[in-house]
Every structure is written in structure tokens, then in C-alpha cells.
């Protein structure tokens, strides 16, 4: 099993993507899923949006070192492609701060150690304005304290408690945890009547 890093304080400058319901087809178009690895996905993040919009933030050199992505509601909706958070992470993003995330996107992000936290609509609006006015302004996110610090402004952030626990304890890569006490998995499976085709066992 691989040892996994504990994730708590992350910091860097921000990048803003305005608009709700940014789906995973936009984050990474389907043609880039034709691959047996995740290599190179960072180069293609938001590829079609960037072609359509020459001043897209991900093409803007002022944001090229950004680490924290600011988004509105329902970010990462649609397809379950893990390629979406992989592309963001490989581009350089280590955390997302938004109004809300799609459930599958949030789960996939946790599985690869990409931090997702939520704040209110007004707080996101303030943070977006703050970053757009000063692209290199540092932001600091604390998973243990559940805060984000921008200049001298501190906001409380939210994330599901199990996700927070997983990040802090290095269990965000869950395989090892799931294989721990595997005999309990086998015991549960033996109790399920369909496991042997309803031939004899089970309640």
C-alpha cells in the first residue's frame, strides 16, 4: 500500500472562474479521456473554453502560478470522469473554494487529495473580486481550522467531516483503509443471500 501524505494547510494565489454549473465536459473534453494514463491532462484543462475565449483565466499569465480555484455553485457537475480533478491538479490547482460542488466531483477530488471547501455566495463573490483585483494575493486554506485567509480577512469554510478527517489523516487514498480487516468484508459478503445465487444461505 502506498503511504499517503497528510493534507492540512495549503496556500498560494487564486484564480477565478465565474458562473455556476461548470460541468466536467468543459473541465476536460471527452477526447482527452482517450488515454490509458492521466499524463498530460494538465495541458488540456478547459481546452475548448479557452479556445472560445482568448482571455480565459487559465490562459492568463497573471494566474499561471495559481493554486486555489474560486468557483460558484455546482462546480464539476455531469460526468463522473476523474480526469476532471486530475486535469486541474496537474495544471497546478491544489484546492477549490466554491459555493457548492457536484457530489461525484467532490468524491473524486478527495480520492486524489484535491481539497474542496464551500463558502457562501457572498463570500465567494468577495474572494473573486479580491483575487481579480490582485492576482498574486496569497490565500491560505486550513483544513484543520476550516478557514481561508485572504489578506486580513478570514472566512469559515465547510467540508464534510469525513473528508476533513481523511485529508488530515492521510486516508484520502482509501484503498489501504478498505483492505484493513478484510475478513470483515468477507464476513459481510457471506451474509448476502445473492452471493451464492440464493441457493441456500442468507436470511
Amino acid at each position: 500500500m502506498s503511504a499517503t501524505r497528510h493534507i492540512d494547510r495549503i496556500h498560494g494565489s487564486g484564480i477565478v472562474l465565474r458562473g455556476g454549473n461548470i460541468d466536467t465536459d468543459r473541465i476536460i473534453p471527452a477526447r482527452f479521456l482517450k488515454s490509458v494514463t492521466f499524463e498530460g491532462l494538465g495541458d488540456h484543462v478547459f481546452e475548448d473554453d479557452r479556445i472560445a475565449m482568448s482571455d480565459h483565466p487559465f490562459s492568463d499569465s497573471r494566474y499561471s502560478q495559481a493554486k486555489l480555484l474560486l468557483v460558484n455553485e455546482n462546480f464539476g457537475s455531469g460526468s463522473s470522469r476523474e480526469h476532471a480533478p486530475q486535469a486541474l491538479k496537474r495544471w497546478g490547482i491544489i484546492g477549490c473554494i466554491g459555493e457548492s460542488f457536484s457530489e461525484i466531483f467532490q468524491g473524486n477530488s478527495l480520492a486524489i487529495g484535491l481539497v474542496c471547501v464551500t463558502v457562501s455566495h457572498n463570500e465567494v463573490a468577495w474572494l473573486m473580486d479580491h483575487v481579480e483585483q490582485n492576482p498574486s494575493a496569497p490565500l491560505e486554506l486550513s483544513v484543520s481550522d476550516l478557514t481561508v485567509l485572504a489578506d486580513d480577512q478570514m472566512f469559515k469554510v465547510e467540508m464534510p467531516e469525513p473528508s476533513r478527517h481523511a485529508l488530515l489523516n492521510g486516508h484520502w487514498d482509501a484503498t489501504g483503509l478498505l483492505l484493513d480487516r478484510f475478513e470483515e468484508v468477507q464476513a459481510v459478503s457471506r451474509e448476502l443471500p445473492y452471493i451464492d445465487g440464493f441457493v441456500g444461505t442468507g436470511s
Binding site: 458562473g19 457537475s77 483503509l177
Partner: protein, 466 residues
């Protein structure tokens, strides 16, 4: 105290509460396809882990397969590489695969039920968000990402948070010309594209009780478009009749025991729901999406919205959608010209979908400016359709009759829109760029409505043609 099906299935499959606070959930059936598995198998190899329950795992190829020329090696080298990767991974790890040589190949969410793998009361996972489809059988089925595919291969388990349940009752009787697709588009329009986040949707009511399994699958399929990762229908005699006799169905006394157990998994009459929504099915019209997410739909007699009717932030996203679609606000959706008509996808590519569409086609011809194609959901659907002569009806009308696969739903294969083409589609997503052209446009609707649009060349009220 009564429980929902979700609670019963969840409790039965929970191995333990993990130190993180998530549940460790045993996965009764793991379905695998070529797009979201290569990296997962690589991770297993690099960690020296075997697949623990290969007998509870089943693979097929669907997303990247050409629906035209399927000769190997594929012209698309990347697609060929993914096929080879799945074939060798399945061989190495002992997983059954319905590949292109198999008579059972097809879209993963079509073949699971066809084979009798999908059953009530079990948990099902697959690296695809439309895994919710299998909930039609009273399974708890969800889409997962590649790292979770790795987890399920390695341990047959997921680390996952429990869900709340919203009961959606659709009562009354659907009008002729109104189908399951219209029902789910109506639900998503009302509850919103993220209304279901954190919820499983339990679909119930008189309309659902009367529906066939194909229809229930259409509804459950698009649960995720409403934000609900899981969507299900309580199992009943319709469910059991569908499963009986299929390759992986229990038989004889085992089948009787199965039916009793399946019945016991249904939500109790005194189950407690986090929310209940009631919809009058008799008032639902054929629906068409006009925008860039599946929630942006209107009834066929309605008009494309005007941004000013909305408050911000919705107002600007409506404006953005209208710009992209090049639609005039306030104009009728009926009469919008289409360039392409696509009948297919895990939402609507089963035999009953093809029958409904063929019935609308009758002996008419596809409009001269429309490129129309029908892509059966599986080889099995294809054979059954050909036995009934449906392929002849479509071909004579001017539709292309293709091999089974995901096709133009998401264009990871040669089937894709070109340029600004606008497509009447029986698929599940109308996001920008979804169908393969960054500027292509999608109008989601039922297969019957696609057939109507193919014939007239424009969005048409199919009720006039039934």
C-alpha cells in the same frame, strides 16, 4: 420504524464505519468499461494488489467503439490502445469481458440488466455517472471515479457517505406521446440540476407503477443530471418478470427465494423520507431542452425563456445559454430546425425506445437536410430489433442503422457533430461540446420526439403524430 429501500440495502452492505466517519460499503456488482479502468488497473499492479472478487465483476466496451466499421485494429490508435488495455487487464485479473466478439456486448447500463446481473437489493458501482440507471431494479447503484474503481477492484468496497432520500411520486396517467424521458426532464426542470446533491431519488407513484423496466431505466438514468447520484424504483412483479430467465438470474427454488428477498427490500409503507415531491403525470408535455444543461427544458408548446424573467445569478446563465444555442428568447421551441437526429445512448436505446421511434416514422422519410442515425444499446437489442424489422423501417426512412455503443452521446468515437450542427438527441446531456464539436448544439428529447424531428426537419410535437 419503517425503512426506505436505500436504508435497507445500505445497512446490509455496510462493513463498518471507517475511522474517517465514512461507511465502508460492499459492492455487490462492479461493472467495468474501457474508459475509467486502465489507470485503476495500473494502480493495482503498482501496489501489488489482486482483484478480490472477480466473480462479482463484469466488463464491456462501449464508449470508444465505432458504431460503423468495427474492424480491429481501430483507425483511432488511442481507442485501439484502450481496447487492448481492457482486454489484457481482464485476462490478467480474471474478469469476464463482453468484448466486440461477444454476442452480449453493448452499453454497460444496457447489458447489465439484459444479462440479469442487475438485481434488486444489491449495491452496484461503475466508473460512469449513469450507473444510476440500474436503480430501476431497486438496486443502489452509483457512478464512481477511477480511483474508486481501483478501490472496488482491490477490496470490493467503497468509502462513501450515506445519502438522504427524496421520494418523487408521479401520479395520474401520461398522455399519449408523453414518455419516461419527458417525466425525468420535467423532474429535473422542477428540482434543478443540483437539487439532488446528497440525496437518493426514490421514484414512485401511479405512473411509475405502470411503467416497464425500460421506462424506469430511462428515469433512473438521468437522476445524476438532477444532482442525485442514486435513483431507484422499488422492485415489483414487473421487475421480477424482467429478470426471470436471464443468464445470471436465479432459477427454480432459488428464484422463489430471490423474489421473497427482493420484495422484502422495498421501502416500507411507514418509511420516513427526508423530502417528498408529488407531480401530476397527466399534466406533463413532451419536453425539449433549449439550453446547456439538462435542467434547461420547456414543454413543446412553450417558448424559449427570456432572461429578464429570471433573477441573477440565473439570468446571466440563461443569457449565456441562449447565446451559445443561438436561440431568440421568447420564440417557440417547436419549429426550431435540426441538422442531426440521434436515437441512442444508455438513456434511450432499448427495444421499446426503438419501437416507439419506429412507430412515429411509419413509412415517412427523413427530411432531406437531416442526418439521422439509430444506435441500438446492445447487440441483443440490435438482433431483437432486426427480428421485428425495425431496422428496415429506419433504413427505408433514411436513418443509418449502426452497431451498438455510446456513439454520439459523448463522441469519444467517430460519431460526432460538426461545427454548429444542432442535434435532436435521445441522450442525457446537452453541455457545450458534449457531442464532439465545441460549437455543436444538443436538444434533448424522447426517442419518439427525435423521430418526429427527423421526419419534419424541425422540433415537432410528437402528439400530433401518434
Amino acid at each position: 420504524m419503517g425503512q426506505t429501500l436505500l436504508q435497507k440495502v445500505w445497512n446490509l452492505h455496510t462493513v463498518r464505519k471507517l475511522p474517517t466517519g465514512q461507511d465502508q460499503l460492499f459492492v455487490g456488482l462492479h461493472l467495468v468499461h474501457e474508459v475509467t479502468s486502465p489507470q485503476a488497473f495500473d494502480m493495482l499492479r503498482s501496489r501489488g494488489i489482486q482483484v478480490k472478487f472477480p466473480e462479482r465483476t463484469y466488463a464491456t466496451v462501449d464508449h470508444i467503439v465505432p458504431t460503423g466499421n468495427q474492424a480491429r485494429p481501430f483507425a483511432d490508435e488511442l481507442a485501439e490502445q484502450m481496447m487492448v488495455s481492457l482486454e489484457s487487464n481482464c485476462k490478467e485479473f480474471g474478469i469476464r469481458l463482453s468484448d466486440l466478439n461477444s454476442e452480449q456486448q453493448g452499453i454497460v447500463h444496457v447489458i447489465g440488466p439484459e444479462l440479469g446481473l442487475t438485481q434488486p437489493g444489491i449495491t452496484i458501482a461503475c466508473g460512469d455517472s449513469h450507473t444510476s440507471t440500474h436503480g430501476a431494479f431497486g438496486a443502489v447503484a452509483f457512478g464512481i471515479g477511477t480511483s474508486q474503481v481501483r478501490d472496488v477492484l482491490a477490496s470490493q468496497c467503497l468509502a462513501i457517505d450515506p445519502l438522504k432520500v427524496r421520494r418523487i411520486m408521479v401520479n395520474g396517467v401520461l398522455e399519449p406521446g408523453v414518455y419516461a424521458k419527458d417525466v425525468i426532464l420535467e423532474i429535473i426542470s422542477r428540482l434543478g440540476v443540483h437539487g439532488g446533491v446528497g440525496y437518493a431519488y426514490e421514484y414512485a407513484g401511479e405512473v411509475l407503477d405502470q411503467m416497464t423496466m425500460d421506462e424506469r431505466m430511462t428515469i433512473c438514468n438521468m437522476s445524476i443530471e438532477g444532482g442525485a447520484r442514486v435513483g431507484y424504483v422499488n422492485p415489483d412483479e414487473t421487475t421480477f418478470r424482467y429478470i426471470e430467465g436471464r443468464p445470471f438470474s436465479p432459477t427454480g427454488d432459488a428464484f422463489l427465494a430471490a423474489k421473497a428477498w427482493w420484495t422484502s427490500m422495498s421501502s416500507d409503507p411507514d418509511a420516513i423520507y427526508n423530502d417528498v415531491v408529488v407531480i401530476d403525470g397527466g399534466k406533463i408535455e413532451p419536453r425539449v431542452t433549449w439550453g446547456i444543461n439538462p435542467g434547461q427544458s420547456v414543454g413543446i408548446t412553450e417558448h424559449i425563456p427570456v432572461p429578464e424573467e429570471f433573477n441573477n445569478p440565473e439570468r446571466s446563465s440563461v443569457g449565456e445559454a441562449l447565446d451559445f444555442m443561438d436561440f431568440d428568447a421568447g420564440t417557440p421551441i417547436a419549429g426550431q430546425k435540426v441538422d442531426v437526429a440521434f436515437i441512442g445512448s444508455c438513456t434511450n436505446s432499448r427495444l421499446s425506445d426503438l419501437r416507439e421511434a419506429a412507430a412515429i416514422v411509419g413509412g415517412q422519410k427523413v427530411s432531406s437536410h437531416v442526418k439521422a442515425l439509430v444506435v441500438p444499446g446492445s447487440k441483443s437489442v440490435s438482433r431483437a430489433a432486426e427480428d421485428e424489422g425495425l431496422d428496415e423501417i429506419f433504413r427505408e426512412a433514411g436513418f443509418e442503422w449502426r452497431g451498438a455503443g455510446c456513439s454520439m452521446c459523448l463522441a469519444m468515437n467517430p460519431d460526432r457533430l460538426e461545427g454548429r450542427e444542432i442535434c435532436a438527441s435521445s441522450s442525457n446531456r446537452n453541455f457545450k461540446g458534449r457531442q464532439g464539436s465545441p460549437t455543436g448544439r444538443t436538444l434533448l428529447m424522447s426517442p419518439a420526439m427525435v423521430a418526429a424531428a427527423a421526419i419534419t426537419g424541425e422540433v415537432t410535437d410528437v402528439r400530433k403524430m401518434v
